[in-house]
Structures are given as structure tokens and as C-alpha cells.
């Protein structure tokens, strides 16, 4: 069933319109990508869901209208957000960062923090090794893993992930995306992944939306979009050589 539904969502920063009526839906347990160039509105869409930008229109989570809710209240409904720039607490240790993630989960899931932490450590062994280190001392890729691990430990029903590949080596990105897919399947969480690199994203997701100037211009299953050269050329060609944000 539908977990997330955006209808006619509009958002602006300082008077500059970033979303012009977004419509999209994510069903429970599926992994969906938002594709598009810089400034297409990927980040803003994620922020519209997590309540970190003010919006008009309707954002429904599991049928509940959360438009205009404060971010921490949206998070309590089971929305995890790995923000642009990762947002790790750089002065806290890796362990503390993960604890904060686990503290964000619903009360009934508190009992299984240990097992979940073990699963996360298995997926990202480096986080166990460096658990006493300050998060700020980790490399970019390690911080990205930390950010995802932290969000996942909150046991969200919907996980928003913003450009995990930004500034990372291709190998690392592939590894991170693959881990994300494993977790997603294992814990049956829905993932909305914003990604500039269409090819890499389409390799792991079920479906994707293609965004341009704050609107959805194409959508379909990953397979369809991989085949569709017209869409590829029109909207997804540029970012292969595109600059990082």
C-alpha cells in the first residue's frame, strides 16, 4: 500500500521556487530513485517529506497529512533522512552517533537495538572498528556509511537518502548503494534515493522518477528507464559529465 504520497507540492527558498507541483508516491518496502540534474528539485523533495522546508500542497504519510509538521514530529512517524552533506555529529564519537540513531526508533522496537546494531556493524565493519573515534575524523565515505547506518538504526519505515555518491569514489558509492539495497530488502523499508548518477541508481532501485525544474517529467520502473534512450538523452545524459554540487 502507499506509504508516501506527494500531491501538488510546491516549495521555495528565499522566494526562489524550487518545486512546482510535485506528484509522487512510494509504496511500502520499495526502493525508488529521484533522478535529475543539479537544481532539479531532488533535495527539496526529500526535505519536503521530512519537514525541513516549508511547503504548500499535500504530503501524506501512511494516509496522514503531515504537511507543515515540524521535522522532529515527522521523524517520529518513522521517516529517516540522510541529508545532503551527511549531517553527522562531527564532535561526537561514531558510537554516540549510532546511539542517537537508535534512540530515534519507536518504543516497541527498543528491545532489538543490539541485534540491529550487530547487523549494521556486519554491513559496515569499519564503524565497529572506529566506534570510539570522533565522527569528524572519518573519511567522506566512512561518514556516509555512518550517516546511513545512523538513519537505519532508527528503524524508519521510509528512508530518504540524499546523494550518497557525492564526492565519493565510484567503488565506494557502489558499495554503499549495494549495502543500502541489502538492508532495504532485509528490513522491508521503503527508500527514496536522490541521485545524480542515473546509471548507478537505476542499477539498484525498483522504480524512479525523473525530475526537471521542480517537476516530474518521466517515471517508470528501473528497467524501463534504463531502456528508454529518449529520457536518457533528454534528462539524464548531462550528469555523467556533470559537476558535483
Amino acid at each position: 500500500m502507499t506509504l508516501l504520497q506527494l500531491t501538488g507540492v510546491r516549495a521555495a527558498y528565499d522566494g526562489v521556487q524550487a518545486l512546482h507541483g510535485m506528484d509522487l508516491a512510494v509504496t511500502e518496502g520499495e526502493m525508488v530513485a529521484l533522478l535529475g540534474a543539479n537544481g532539479a528539485g531532488k533535495t527539496t523533495t526529500l526535505r519536503a517529506v521530512s519537514g525541513t522546508v516549508s511547503v504548500e500542497g499535500a504530503v501524506l504519510l501512511d494516509g496522514q497529512d503531515v504537511t507543515g509538521w515540524a521535522a522532529h514530529r515527522v521523524a517520529r512517524l518513522g521517516v529517516g533522512h540522510v541529508p545532503e552533506g551527511r549531517g553527522t555529529f562531527v564532535d561526537l564519537t561514531v558510537e554516540e552517533n549510532l546511539t542517537l540513531g537508535a534512540l530515534a526508533r519507536a518504543k516497541r522496537l527498543r528491545g532489538q537495538v543490539k541485534e540491529d546494531l550487530a547487523a549494521v556493524h556486519e554491513l559496515f565493519p569499519i564503524l565497529r572498528e572506529f566506534s570510539r573515534r570522533q565522527a569528524g575524523a572519518l573519511s567522506g565515505g566512512q561518514q556516509q556509511m555512518l550517516a546511513i547506518a545512523r538513519a537505519i538504526l532508527g528503524r524508519p519505515r521510509l528512508l530518504l537518502v540524499d546523494e550518497p555518491s557525492l564526492g565519493l569514489a565510484p567503488m565506494v558509492t557502489t558499495e554503499i548503494l549495494r549495502s543500502l539495497r541489502v538492508l532495504q530488502a532485509e528490513w522491508q523499508l521503503a527508500v527514496l534515493l536522490a541521485e545524480q548518477n542515473a546509471r548507478r541508481a537505476l542499477a539498484v532501485v525498483d522504480r524512479a522518477y525523473v525530475l526537471e525544474s521542480g517537476r516530474v517529467v518521466a517515471s517508470g520502473s528501473a528497467a524501463e528507464l534504463r531502456e528508454n534512450t529518449a529520457v536518457q538523452d533528454a534528462y539524464l545524459g548531462a550528469e555523467q559529465t556533470g559537476r558535483p554540487a
Binding site: 525541513t52 515540524a70 521535522a71 522532529h72 564532535d91 561526537l92 569528524g136
Partner: protein
């Protein structure tokens, strides 16, 4: 030698006042980014409250507990009412708000309790104790012990409790904290409440020495600001150490440097800070800001 030891110990004694106020200032600064000039007068209000209770026959320790609870509520309330509207503003705006709080609260204290200085009896009695050859009053020793325990408790709270961890997270990166379902606004209010409580401990426990008057915390506040600068506003441990160092430095200076006296004893702590900051602009315990990117 004994004389020097004596001066160092009594300097440490007053240093604890600065240390706890500095810690309070640090807590507020880390959370809301405001240098709270009203921290001292908030502690003064707590001291007056304690004086009212005790002079109406209440036991000192019971009064202390009640006052601490009241101070916590008052601190959190001040954040909610006065600071919330300017949350996220420039440091200058924040500073002006706390200055307004200082001016207003000081007047309110005087309106409620009057201008006349009051005396609060020491809960430790009038005796004195010998510590490794130096003579300290029971009040000096007891007050220092109480503050020390408070500081340790505060440290443990931040280090070992999940609420403390949440507060640290909210202070450090409010945007990320919200994404982890932390109610940042509530954490900030808690931070102010906690700061007010720590300040209140100092205000009440040192009231017998300082005397209870609207201006009782004025010079302590300034030294606490200096201590926070010395330690680096980002570091709670630094603020405490800074307070103790300044207490000792000021005491030694007024005793041993000819012509300094009690009116100019502030020269020395500021000279110390000046030198430290020239060498380490981020303070003794602060981190260079480039790391925080």
C-alpha cells in the same frame, strides 16, 4: 610556603564560583549561541529565593533543593519566552537580549527583595579546617565540595545519559538532531534550565560569603565570562578549568603583586587570558574552528 598554599586554596575556593557560572554560560552558549549576560543575576535571584525560605525558618538544604528546582523551571521558562523569538539570530542580537534580561531581572530582584544586602547563615557552621597546613573555613571547604559535586554530576549527565547525549546532539547540529526526532526547542529550554540550576548552586552555596544583594554576582559573572573565553566557549571542561585558574590567579595577584589590591585584581586574569588568546585564539580547550566544517 604555607602562605602561598593558603592563597592558592582560597583562590580555588572563589574559583569554584566562576567555574560554575562559566559552565552555565557555556551550556547556554553551546545550545543557543547566546553569551548569557543574565546568568549572574539569575543566580542572584536563586540566592534571594533561598534567603527568603531560610529566613522563614526552612532548613538550608531543603531550601537549596527547592530553589534548584525553581531555578531550573525559571531558566527553561526564560528560554521559552525570551530567547525563542530570536532563536538563530546573530550573536549581537542574542547578546542584546541577554543584556536586556540582565537589566530587567536585576530590577525585578530589587523590586521584590529590596536593595539592602541580606545575610544568609552558612550551613557549614563557623568552624575552620586545616588542609595540609592551610587553614580554610568550613564554609569555604563545604561550598567548594558542593560545587565540585555539581560539576561532576553535570559532566556525568552529559557523558552517560541519553538525554545528555540528545542535548549535545541538538547543540552541535540542530538540523540533524531534528531528523533523528529530537525536539531541539525542548533541548534548548532544558539547557537553559540546567544552566540556571548550575548557576543557582553557586549563588546559594556561596551566598554566606558573598552576601545576598542585587549586585552579588556582578563581578563573578565577568570573571566567568573571562573563564569561558579562557577555556574556549565550546568546552565545558575548559570553562571549569578556566574558572579555577582565574580564581587562583586573581587571589595570588592581589596578595603578591604590589599595588594591585582587590580593586585591580581583575588585571591579572585578563592579562592571563590575553596571553593565552594570543597563543591560542580558540581558548585553552577549544578546537580550531576549521575542524567544524
Amino acid at each position: 610556603m604555607t602562605e602561598l598554599w593558603q592563597q592558592i586554596l582560597s583562590g580555588l575556593g572563589t574559583g569554584f564560583i566562576y567555574a560554575s557560572l562559566a559552565l552555565a554560560i557555556c551550556l547556554v552558549f553551546q545550545g543557543t549561541g547566546a553569551v548569557n549576560f543574565a546568568q549572574g543575576v539569575m543566580a542572584t535571584a536563586s540566592a534571594y529565593l533561598a534567603w527568603s525560605l531560610v529566613s522563614n525558618g526552612m532548613d538550608f538544604w531543603l531550601a537549596l533543593v527547592l530553589v534548584l528546582a525553581a531555578s531550573f523551571v525559571l531558566g527553561a521558562l526564560i528560554e521559552r519566552v525570551f530567547i525563542r523569538p530570536v532563536e538563530g539570530s546573530s550573536p549581537l542580537v542574542m547578546l542584546t537580549v541577554t543584556v536586556a534580561l540582565l537589566i530587567g531581572l536585576q530590577a525585578v530582584v530589587a523590586l521584590i527583595w529590596g536593595d539592602d544586602p541580606q545575610q544568609l547563615g552558612s550551613p557549614f557552621g563557623g568552624g575552620s579546617v586545616e588542609v595540609l597546613g592551610a587553614r580554610l573555613t568550613a564554609q569555604q571547604l563545604g561550598a567548594a565540595a558542593v560545587v565540585l559535586v555539581t560539576l561532576l554530576l553535570a559532566g556525568a549527565f552529559f557523558r552517560f545519559t541519553t538525554l545528555g547525549l540528545r542535548m549535545r546532539a541538538a547543540a552541535q547540529n540542530p538540523a540533524s538532531a531534528r531528523l533523528l526526532s529530537i525536539d531541539v526547542g525542548r533541548m534548548l529550554a532544558l539547557g537553559w534550565g540546567l544552566a540556571a540550576t548550575v548557576g543557582a548552586v553557586a549563588g546559594v552555596i556561596f551566598a554566606p560569603t558573598l552576601g545576598v544583594s542585587p549586585a552579588m554576582m556582578d563581578s563573578s559573572l565577568l570573571l566567568a565570562l573571562a573563564a569561558a573565553t579562557l577555556g574556549g566557549f565550546e568546552s565545558r571542561v575548559g570553562a571549569v578549568v578556566g574558572g579555577l585558574v582565574l580564581g587562583v590567579a586573581a587571589n595570588l595577584a592581589s596578595r603578591y603583586i604590589p599595588g594591585i589590591g582587590s580593586d585591580l585584581q581583575l588585571v591579572v586574569p585578563f592579562a592571563v587570558i590575553f596571553l593565552v588568546l594570543l597563543l591560542r585564539p580558540q581558548g585553552l580547550f577549544g578546537r580550531a574552528s576549521s575542524v567544524r566544517a
